[in-house]
């Protein structure tokens, strides 16, 4: 197994925003690596630095042993445009052919079209494609040049279940033919379906780097919500990894084993009321894990920790 790309203590700032914070990461040949994290965690920024679109503020990124900014290093690299990026007046066949001509040994346009279900659409202008068709074309473009390393940034966002599975199958087949794949996602399901190794990013840092099974175990948190006068005592119980205080006076505690937490809670005699238990979403699990790693103390946040527009704004700043 050789290292195709490496991030060595990489930090990237956008003005005051720290998008990537001291990340070290090796991408080995032969794997599918999942980059998992909530919006604004720094996933896209990591990929754009490997693609040579951005330079790290500090640290180094190497691609095939050289600088990603050198176009010759990108001869074995594949990536996807955003589906909204395709030039609307060009035909599907022209776009595939155009991208293929940048590489020494591209797949034939027919082979690419066949693999990604675009055969009927080759004569169609990309502006006339549906969202799902554009997605398929975008992902197909990453594989046209028969690259050794393929970077897929949220490849199935916005697709329905069927289209998503079709695309995953195609990506898996390409991987079996020898392509190393890095896929970013904020869907645990997607990472589960594709990846062998997962790197979880939060606030620009690596929170976990492990097998899929291990990470799933780690992010499968339960929420125990209740009203209590003594939240600090509850937090001190075994298994509690974080907590959020809501405006309605309830406190939500996160634990991997909620049954055990409740047993401990009852046994401790701490007074409480209005108990509810439910599973935490991946996003909530992320936020708790991210908070627990020290970026900000969990108790300082209120649930939901950040509103959706705030996260969108953060994403925008990363662009």
């Amino acid at each position: 197994m050789s290292v195709l790309a490496r991030l060595d203590h990489v930090t990237r700032r956008f003005g005051d925003v720290l998008a990537v914070d001291d990340v070290s990461l090796d991408i080995h040949s032969g794997t599918i690596l999942g980059l998992l994290g909530p919006n604004g965690a720094g996933k896209s920024t990591v990929l754009t630095m490997v693609q040579g679109l951005r330079r790290p503020s500090t640290g180094t990124v190497t691609l095939f042993g050289g600088s990603p900014g050198d176009y010759r290093m990108r001869r074995k690299l594949g990536g996807t445009p955003q589906e909204t990026a395709l030039p609307p007046t060009l035909r599907v066949g022209e776009v595939i052919d155009f991208v293929g001509r940048h590489f020494d040994a591209p797949l034939s346009t027919a082979a690419v079209a066949d693999e990604f279900g675009l055969g009927e659409l080759l004569k169609r202008q990309t502006g006339a494609l549906s969202g799902g068709q554009k997605r398929r074309l975008s992902v197909a473009l990453a594989f046209v040049g028969q690259p050794r390393l393929v970077l897929l940034d949220e490849p199935t966002t916005g697709l329905d279940v069927d289209a998503r599975r079709t695309l995953w199958d195609a990506v898996r087949r390409q991987h079996e033919r020898g392509a190393t794949v890095v896929v970013t996602s904020h869907y645990l399901e997607e990472i589960e379906a594709l990846a062998e190794r997962v790197v979880v990013l939060g606030h620009g840092r690596v929170i976990a780097d492990d097998t899929v099974a291990a990470v799933i175990n780690q992010v499968s948190l339960r929420q125990v919500r209740l009203v209590t006068e003594h939240p600090d005592r509850v937090s001190g119980l075994p298994g509690v990894v974080g907590r959020d205080v809501a405006d309605d006076g309830t406190t939500t505690f996160y634990a991997s084993d909620s049954d055990r937490l409740i047993v401990e809670l009852v046994r401790s005699g701490i007074p409480f009321s209005d108990l509810t238990v439910r599973g935490a979403t991946l996003e909530e699990a992320f936020l708790t894990l991210t908070g627990a790693t020290g970026a900000e103390p969990p108790a300082a946040r209120t649930a939901p920790a950040r509103t959706a527009p705030a996260r969108t704004a953060e994403k925008e700043m990363n662009r």
Binding site: Q51, L53, R74, K76, P87, T89, H102, D104, R319
Partner: protein, 263 residues
């Protein structure tokens, strides 16, 4: 990793030459897919000559004036082409994520820029053809073959400031703003530069102002290349200064833009 860096750089299947042609071709295909967009740059200069110069027989029947009018409208054709192609293409590309995607492909920046210049240059050349044809058929304009060739070279040189102004506009504003600004800049430079009305009809103050504009300098430079005579120092000094200044501005805006533009 020697296998990755090996291979011809200039020639060959993925050499700079092939990639330049590839990018020039795709830009032309994209341009020709919207034929209406071509009319402005291809037909307008020829029509201007037909409507503004040909009916005025005092100019059209005088070989010297007619030749100057053809030159002026050729400069206008190339200027509007440079401003529009660079200004609008860059401004609208910056709003599309396709451009950053292209930067991730194994293609050197020089091939992409040359591809843009080649396709724009071809369009520019195409827009001059009707002007030359109408000039030869319907006016008394005359030039030797050598004069025409020298004129084309001079056109290419004097078009540089317009390309750089176009690039600067493209990198400094949105495509909607760029349309308006390009039109104002284009007509301002065209009128004040003596491309629509010959400078001898100008008031003195306008004539003096005109000499500081790249359009006037381009006009005089190409007329000198076609007709011969004396080249005033303000012409070539002006072209040099404008080229240097607009190049520096374009470079500055390009660099400043890079960080925000690409994700």
């Amino acid at each position: 990793m020697s296998t990755l860096t090996r291979g011809p750089v200039i020639g060959g299947r993925t050499g700079i030459l092939a990639l330049t042609l590839l990018h020039a071709r795709i830009i032309l295909i994209e341009t020709f897919r919207i034929p209406a967009a071509l009319i402005g740059s291809l037909v307008f200069p020829g029509l201007s000559l037909l409507f503004f110069v040909v009916p005025q027989r005092a100019i059209a029947d005088n070989p010297e004036f007619a030749t100057q009018a053809v030159v002026a409208l050729s400069v206008f054709a190339l200027m509007s082409n440079s401003l529009f192609s660079f200004g609008l293409n860059i401004a609208s590309n910056r709003e599309q994520p396709w451009d950053p995607y292209l930067r991730t492909l194994p293609v050197p920046g020089v091939a992409r820029v040359l591809g843009q210049v080649c396709s724009t240059g071809l369009m520019g050349l195409a827009s001059i053809l009707p002007v030359i044809a109408i000039g030869a058929l319907f006016t008394a304009a005359e030039a030797s073959v050598l004069g025409v060739l020298a004129g084309l070279v001079a056109l290419g040189i004097s078009a540089l400031p317009f390309m750089f102004i176009g690039i600067s506009i493209g990198y400094s504003m949105s495509s909607k703003a760029a349309i308006a600004v390009v039109q104002i800049v284009m007509f301002g430079l065209a009128f004040a530069g003596g491309l629509f009305l010959p400078p001898y009809l100008f008031a003195d103050w306008l004539d003096t102002l005109s000499m500081f504009l790249p359009s006037r300098q381009a006009r005089e430079f190409v007329i000198w290349a076609v007709q011969g005579g004396e080249l005033e120092p303000w012409v070539w000094i002006g072209i040099l200064l404008w080229t240097a200044a607009t190049f520096a501005l374009a470079l500055l805006l390009f660099r400043r833009d890079e960080g925000r533009r690409y994700r």
